[in-house]
């Protein structure tokens, strides 16, 4: 079996306020980066799995994202590999 690295990126859904992002934006502008328009916080998980069937990988990682890594009320996610 081959190993595969998959990245799951979790972010807040459109319309859900992102206080951490806002805070970082404020901090950046206090440091003089006035050109920053928006900061959004994303969280990435690099998952190494023993599986090489593309279809299975996709399904499994989706289940991980929906079962643990996100709360569907506020989160969107993206899988890339």
């Amino acid at each position: 079996m081959g190993k595969k690295e998959v990245i799951v990126t979790v972010g807040l859904k459109e319309g859900i306020s992102d206080p951490e992002g806002k805070n970082v934006k404020k901090a950046l502008s206090l440091l003089g980066f006035k050109e920053v328009e928006e900061v959004k916080i994303l969280k990435s998980y690099k998952i190494t799995i023993n599986e090489n069937k593309c279809k299975d990988i996709d399904e499994k990682v989706k289940a991980m994202a929906e079962g643990l890594l996100t709360n569907p009320v506020v989160h969107d996610y993206e899988i890339s590999w």
Partner: protein
Amino acid sequence: MKPEDINICILRIEGTNNEQEMYDAFKRLGTKPHLVHLNELSSLKPYQCLMIPGGFSAGDYIRAGTIFASRIKSNFMDELNNFIKEGYAVGGICNGFQVLVELGLLPGNPKGNGTITACLSRNDSARFECRHSILKHVSSKKCVFTSLLPQNEQLIVPSAHAEGKFLLSGGKKAYEKLEKNGQIIFKYVNYKGETNAPYPWNPNGSPYNIAGICNKRGNVFGMMPHPERSFFSKNEHGYSGKILFESVVKYIGGTF
């Protein structure tokens, strides 16, 4: 049941750290609390009440309460659903509230299929906030944890969390429904008792100032602030965090 026959399971995993004060609260009322590590829990049968204490279960990594919730799900979700169906009491304080929400038990949905319909999301201030909150008991419904506390009575209870903003899927309608069902138990207020008091009275920015809710039946309850930390600090009418523990003990004593 007499208090001394009531067995309360206070569930812990690594990182839960409010279990001792929860234990003390129930012990003071003459019941039998038990600190049980999730690894050691074989059955809920001996217990009439399950409490999930505050803390940072599993470090709150991923999201607050998520890892604890997923470990409960994989270990004994069916048993927990039956426990609730039989009318036993389940309470979650702070991180425990987050766990119950991540289990889909709060606010709960009619199908009871564990779909998550709410989230305790990052405070608007984007930081951990430790401050005293004034809570108003806004529900007339008999939640088993507040049955002894008259409606509109206020408590002073410490809040200490970074993720306590209660968000519900389904927008305004969903909140209205929750309100109509009497499931909203506590709201953050100011000294005047106003339920729209802004930050810092509402420490996390929860819509409608929601601080604590229960399921439709009233036997599953969660709140962000810590009643076990204000067990002795009475308000002018003589109510303190103690009343919540007395309520649930009375409920169990009278029902089973």
